[in-house]
């Protein structure tokens, strides 16, 4: 029978890479793609926390007729009849740019290097500030500490080109409960390298000595 949107089952019918898919109200394009086992790369997305749209790697192209727009699939709500392309030229171009910039942002991150190589990006034209840096500023550590753990022990310091992951006064934070959630969600080894700056000396804090 005709498969057009006359099917009144309360779902949203659209396509991803030509495949017909159905989504419930509230699902994002990424939710739907994953449900249908269509891979879309992500970096700052984690199932435990709300999406933040920081990395832009999950971009897809939303098209209808002549109109198209490059949007992030982790937050974009699909609508009836939209055509989503996960690997169009525009999309691949955006991803390559992002990965090239990330190679300059966090040159020491093996995971980024591998992801970039998969997209054909092997080196970067941008200036490398710190060749040892692994942090890509995805913010997952900050979000997990706030939303899952609830203590907000780490956050971003400064903004713009000087943005970095920081604790208040750059000293180990007493609010940190040393759960290691930040290390587990970090997509690279960046948090592992920084953890001591956040949790400090555990022995002092779990019962004896001063909690400083």
């Amino acid at each position: 029978m005709s498969k057009k949107s006359e099917k009144d089952n309360g779902k949203i019918h659209f396509t991803i890479d030509g495949q017909e898919v159905e989504a419930e109200e509230g699902w994002t394009v990424l939710d739907t793609a994953r449900h249908y086992r269509i891979p879309i790369p992500t970096l700052c997305h984690h199932e435990a926390v709300k999406p933040s749209g920081a990395c832009r790697l999950c971009v897809v192209e939303a098209k209808q007729g002549d109109w198209s727009k490059v949007v992030i699939s982790c937050m974009y709500p699909p609508w009836e009849g939209v055509e989503i392309q996960t690997r169009s030229e525009r999309v691949m171009n955006v991803r390559r740019w992002i990965l090239e910039m990330l190679l300059a942002e966090c040159p020491a991150a093996e995971e980024i290097r591998a992801l970039a190589a998969e997209h054909g990006v092997l080196d970067t034209r941008f200036k490398v500030e710190d060749p040892e840096e692994q942090c890509l500023l995805c913010g997952l550590c900050v979000r997990v500490c706030e939303e899952v753990v609830g203590v907000r022990a780490i956050s971003f310091g400064s903004r713009g080109v000087h943005k970095h992951i920081a604790t208040p006064y750059m000293v180990p934070n007493q609010a940190c409960i040393a759960c290691g959630s930040c290390v587990t969600v970090c997509p690279t080894g960046a948090m592992e390298a920084r953890l001591e700056r956040v949790r400090g000396d555990i022995a002092e804090r779990t019962g004896h000595g001063f909690a400083h």
Partner: protein
Amino acid sequence: MKKKASAKVQSIKGATVGVFLCECGKRIDGKVDLARLRELLEDSPLVDHVEILPYSCERPGLSEIRERVAGKGLNRIVVAGCARRIMLKKFERELGDTGLEEGQIDMINLRDHIASVNDGAPEELALKASKVIQASAAGLKELTPSPKQKIQIDLPVMILGGGIATYSAAQELARAGIEVIMAVQTEDVEDEIRILHERYPGERSYHDRLMKIMTEIEESPLVKRISVGELDEVMGTVGNYTVTFSAEGNQPPRIYKAGTIIAALDGEMLNQGTDFGHDGKRVLCHTEMEEHIWLFGVPAHPVVFWVNDLEADQPDYAYLSARTAWNMATHIRDNNRNCDLKILYNEQINPPLNAQERARARRENIQWIPYDGNVRPTVQDGYITYDEPGSQIERELPWEQLVLSPRRHPGIEQLKVARILGLHVHGEEFLERNPQMVRPEQVGMEEKFLAGSARHPCDLRESLRQGQRAAHRTAEIMQQAKAGTLFAPRMVCSVDPEKCIGCGLCKEICDCGGVAPVEGKGGGIPRVVDPMTCTGGGTCAAACPYHALVLQNNTTTQREARVSVLARNLAENEVMGFGCRWGGAAAADNAGVRGIHYNARFHLLQVDCIGQLDATVMGRAFREGANGLLLLGCPPEECHHSYGLDHTWSRVLLVKKLLSLIGLERDRIALAHMDLNHPEQLARTVDRFVAMMDELGPVPKDREIQAKLNDLYETLRTPRVRWVLGASLRRPYETTYPTDQRNALAYDETLSDVLKEEFLRTRVFNFLKRESKVLHLNDIVGSIREEKQRVLNCLKDLSDEGMISRIYKDRVPYYTLQ
């Protein structure tokens, strides 16, 4: 057509377990054969429903799970996906409306504990996964969910301790519309300010602000002021405290009911003693100088302030003392333009002045004079000598009054109050510590109820701020309670009053303060757990000699079920272990994230704290067929709960002793320490332990060993063994609860003796039970193969206690079960 599944198990009436397997993109699917895993689980009597989902945790997956829970009446689910530490909260939140409560959802980390770290064909990994998932299902089948406990707080907040933070706390609470009872030192606010310098010298600039706070409170109908004697005791739990102040003169003891308590405790300032020449007249400390100024006005003679905290071995407080010296010096200068004022300070300190203050110091001639800290200044008659930095020449400062830094101490009275409140007082250290690194939302978090300089030396402003913060956090909780949205966490301990004999072992070993004081000071009165303070570590429940204490929704019975199922399913060369959420399991999660490989023959079960493992759980593993058991906890004295890890050390040793009594190797059970930030260490540890078990070979599976393993398990349940174990659960050289190595050795010898006796007793009793016939001593000795006299003693004890019968035939004694 699928094979007909065997009859399903329902250990707790109506417990139906659903298992959801996650593909997780290509992170699990492809590495673990999920189709095969599903088959294996469908055949298991422990699992009522299995399903594969692309992503269980995203909206589509959650939608499916909800439908399945409703459609199939599932009331326990296992999500075989990724890290429980990270994802469980989301599942609990999203699935809360299906009726699944905390404890009814378990997670197995297929991704980080198997798929990403083990080498092996997908079908092999599927087999491994099925063992661990079935163990989880078994645990869930034994779960009896506890009723949700709503916390009511209708009574006022009591602020006691007499610290100055009382006023800022009361103000904050009154502004939030909450009733307060303040226990103060004196009813007169003027007096309070008059004596403030005894605890906070040099803080005149804050007196006006403090006065405003005090006036606001005086006028508030919500704040009741009581002036009482010493604090005698505090009983009860959050929402229902009974606070007793001791009798004063001919007044009887006064008793108040409170909903929550805030302790405002100010530290004491003592003088430096003869060490620095203190005499109370010419050589003073800050508080005495303040008193002097109150009585006689500001001095006209030369005054030297010596910031001597580094020499007095309290280097952390130098900043505070220097600020106080400055405040007092500027006060004197404001009232006397000519007085010679100098502040002598160790050059290792930076004078704590901002630019304006430095300018003022120059302008008003308050000199800051540094000295070389390598040479200690000496107090002489009228002069103090010091070594000039740079030149190394010994110089002198003339003085007529020398004001030293105070020696800071938490205060004897304050420590007493802290002990009564159940805070952990270590010697005479300041009270600040952060033991509650588990549940930020609970009342037990220190910042919610402790404010003032007894916590850690601070200035008046900080003290007032701490009071305000404690009040603010308390107000939040009380407002939640009022709105009916304050519930106790579900995984907290609870006491069965029928079984509890009131020995207090739990209270002794628990550091979180969750075991509340009960009426009376003797035994025989069942303990009570405050669910708002208990952090759910469970070491108390693991120690209780009478199994009266349980960690609700996460019981020893559940853990024994998990360990049994896994042990029974393991192949001969496979090994099992437990990892705690903060140490072992966290390190394992991170090993998975980093893709660090280790031996696939190791099967990991997760617990919240390694200390919640009763020794019986360890014994049960061996009884059901484990060849080796590895416990992966946090580093020593770094347990996030109440030293559960350190208690585990003793429990492991107990099991080692029993293993050797059976004739098995002690090395088969081991404790290891993991730091979550060093996952590569976990790989080395696991590989080494598996290699050790390979060297030892599997435990012989003959009937004799099996019987002995059963006896081992039962011995771990006997109250006497648990009692003696409870007497000393720690290593002797620890810093928190140190003891003497020689005593520890003597105790351990006693423990070994008790264990031998109890083990033999259990063996004899169980032997008679199995044989269920009338036996002569020689038959018993022949089978048990122990020294005749020892067996005879056992038989005598057992029959004296009425557990077995002694029958005489032709005047020869025979023994049988009662």
